[in-house]
């Protein structure tokens, strides 16, 4: 297998240029798909037979919820790559992911509680799904706090990477909490094959999933550039990029 791509991504100037080129494409596609998903989810999809229109919160809540787990997993993988191959760009990517992940987790908790109130009668319950998702937010905070507390960037990279990797056990706990324990939270909706919803409800949701992933890619690439500039301030490629 040819590993040159892996080494290329490990180079800060290459990654900076890559991020610069791809951000508008990811961002533009995310915006278009979000508008399409909004129209499909709010206008075209029919109301649910039980939840009426309240179920439409799914079009924001489910994509941000799955993204909050995906970002954490991506952050842990990047941190592990950084630790194993001593790759600075990977550590930078992990560091750049954390604040986005924390915000998306906040969005998950808020949109979820706005769905919980009309359906369960409470904004918050100490349910396994909700509690483990709240813990995810604390993991993001812990990761960022640890980085901020250690002045030496290399030591901060290593220590925070270990925390990110250990914390990844929480991801399957969140995902399967609705199956493992008695939860007030509804289980995952089947979207394909023997689906729980009609197609006119499903496609806007799939569109939103994709839109939010592309949004993450775009914002991550912007933050990654900031992180690379901060780390490599003295390097000659920075001079070239900024001139």
């Amino acid at each position: 297998m040819n590993w040159t791509w892996f080494h290329r991504f490990g180079s800060a100037p290459y990654m900076y240029g890559f991020a610069q080129r791809w951000t508008p494409w990811f961002g533009g596609a995310a915006l278009l798909l979000m508008l399409l998903g909004l129209y499909g989810g709010l206008v075209l999809a029919p109301p649910d037979y039980q939840q009426k229109d309240a179920y439409r919160i799914i079009y924001v809540h489910a994509p941000v919820a799955s993204l909050s787990l995906m970002i954490y997993t991506a952050m842990a993988v990047a941190a592990a790559v950084g630790l194993i191959w001593r790759m600075k760009v990977a550590h930078a990517a992990a560091a750049a992911s954390a604040p986005i992940g924390a915000w998306i987790t906040v969005a998950t908790l808020v949109t979820g509680s706005l769905w919980g109130k009309p359906m369960w009668g409470a904004y918050w319950v100490w349910d396994p799904r909700l509690t483990s998702e709240l813990f995810l937010l604390f993991l993001y905070f812990g990761y960022m706090g640890l980085r901020a507390a250690i002045e030496d960037p290399q030591k901060a990279d290593k220590a925070s990477a270990v925390l990110a990797i250990v914390g990844v056990v929480n991801v399957p706990i969140i995902k399967y909490s609705v199956n493992w324990w008695n939860s007030l939270h509804q289980p995952a909706t089947r979207l394909l094959g023997k689906a729980d919803m009609v197609w006119s409800m499903v496609w806007p949701l799939l569109t939103m999933f994709l839109a939010f992933m592309l949004f993450f890619a775009a914002v991550l690439l912007i933050r990654l550039r900031a992180e690379l500039l901060r780390r490599e301030r003295g390097a000659s490629w920075v001079r070239e990029v900024l001139s």
Binding site: K52, A54, T111, W115, R223, R225, A226, L229, G234
Partner: protein
């Protein structure tokens, strides 16, 4: 039209969740761009100092 916004009585919950959800999306774009502008400024200052 008002029926659309009422969302069979769940309008308040729906519009708040969409507002906050997409508000956080926009905020993340703004914060990321600000972080990049800030990093560029710092890097430029440092380059000028080293001249």
């Amino acid at each position: 039209m008002s029926e659309f916004f009422a969302m069979s009585g769940y309008g308040t919950y729906i519009w708040w969740s969409y507002g906050i959800g997409f508000g956080i999306v926009v905020l993340n774009v703004v914060l990321a761009r600000r972080a990049l502008a800030d990093a560029k400024l710092q890097a430029r200052r440092r380059l000028e100092m080293s001249k």
